[in-house]
Amino acid sequence: MFRTFLFGIVLGLAAAAGALYAIPVVDQHREASIIRVAPNGGNTESFHVNIPMDRIMAGSQDASKAVPAGLVWPATEVLAGVRAEVFKLRNANDMVVGVGVRTAAERSDGNVIDWTLHLPARGSLFIGMEAAPRDGGFRLGEMRSGSREFARLTGVLTERWVEDTSGEEDAPLGRIELRTTYVGNAERHDDAEVVE
């Protein structure tokens, strides 16, 4: 019987180790990426934010525009002229796939508008936008950095406000459309790999 007990201990150790190794502790839900090949090179992917439904937070020193109710924006002079918004980010199929942060700040050397997009199953993107919108009502930005899936990509992002004209009762006021264009960076080969 003691041998059976010892065998059970070994079995328990092996089963626990096997379970911990085989069963994923974290399993992120993935929506299929909807990426299209751009005609002039690179790939494009569209995201959008339905306003006001997808706005998680809007903070600035103008308390009348604060979202959610009860948000207390610090009354420090440091954040004067700073507006931060946090949104749920949707893909082209209108499915929530991530979280986006838009920050706008007034500076003496030029206003700052930045987007940070976080897609949990894929990685994060950081885009610095031009302060002034271009003709056609969109604003252009440059991908400054990315993590994981986006680490080796460069590219641009356009931001555009599209008002809802459907007239439906429960329709959003409009949407912020974000269109990314990714361009992959060629990896440098080692000198030894270069074929003459």
Binding site: F2, T4, F5, L6, G8, I9, V10, L11, G12, L13, A14, A15, A16, A17, L20, P24, V25, V26, Q28, H29, R55, I56, M57, G59, P68, G70, L71, V72, P74, V78, L79, A80, V82, A84, V86, K88, M95, V96, V97, G98, V99, V101, T103, A105, R107, V112, D114, T116, H118, L119, P120, A121, G123, S124, F126, G128, R144, S145, G146, S147
Partner: protein, 229 residues
């Protein structure tokens, strides 16, 4: 029958021994001193409160340990973001003076591997310092030392809480020395590639409500002059 009972007892004892072995694995230890704490370069120190009620905004899926703040903030309940936390904080410098805004987006990582002491989060910081500019930090964080040294003792205690003084680095990559990657966007940070380390200082933690007294700290190392191509 008695053999079956012995086998079942053995399996239970084996599984418990394995759990204890994983929890107190001597080969998984603290990584020691952060490389940024011994650098000669200029380092920016930014602090923020980890307690949700002391943040400007904190939200998660609403079912996690820590309650969202403010109470009526939208929760991240949709499947692709339900393992994600979002925190907006007022950042202060080493003297406690407010210096800017920080937004942290963090998600549980699929690279988590408890067997080798990796309880990982993939996180991104957006930092805006009005006097200096804006930057983005992305990193992998390892919460295993925190779970091992704070959360587990708190869970074991009769009051479900832990009090003391604990300081540990969270950043575990992607840099070769376990540092985070930081990229500047505007102001004096524009075009700079930097390294950063995030650490956590805990004084009180409860397994019922989360952090009761804790502070996070970001160390950002400025390069001499290394513009991005």
């Amino acid at each position: 029958m008695k053999y079956a009972v012995a086998l079942v007892l053995g399996v239970i004892v084996g599984a418990v021994c394995f759990a204890v072995g994983v929890l107190y694995n001597p080969f998984v230890g603290d990584r020691g001193l952060s490389p940024l704490s011994v650098t000669d370069a200029e380092v920016i120190t930014l602090g923020y409160s980890v307690v949700p009620a002391e943040s400007i905004m904190y939200t998660n899926n609403g079912e996690s340990l820590q309650a969202p703040h403010p109470a009526r903030v939208q929760q991240l309940w949709e499947a692709p973001i339900r393992l994600t936390d979002t925190r907006v904080s007022l950042l202060h410098d080493a003297t406690g003076k407010p210096v800017g805004l920080g937004v942290k987006l963090s998600s549980r990582s699929e690279s988590t591997h408890i067997f080798s002491g990796k309880a990982l989060m993939d996180s991104a910081w957006y930092v805006y310092l009005p006097d200096r500019g804006s930057l983005f930090i992305h990193q992998t964080e390892n919460y295993w030392p925190f779970l091992q040294q704070i959360a587990f003792p708190a869970w074991r205690s009769s009051g479900n809480n832990w009090r003391g003084s604990w300081l540990g680095d969270l950043t575990a990559g992607p840099g070769a020395l376990g540092t985070a990657a930081a990229v500047g966007s505007s102001g004096e940070f524009a075009g700079l590639a930097m390294e950063a380390v995030e650490s956590l200082s805990v004084r009180a933690f409860s397994t019922d409500t989360g952090f009761l007294s804790a502070e996070g700290r970001l160390l950002i190392e400025l390069p001499e002059a290394s513009p991005i191509d």
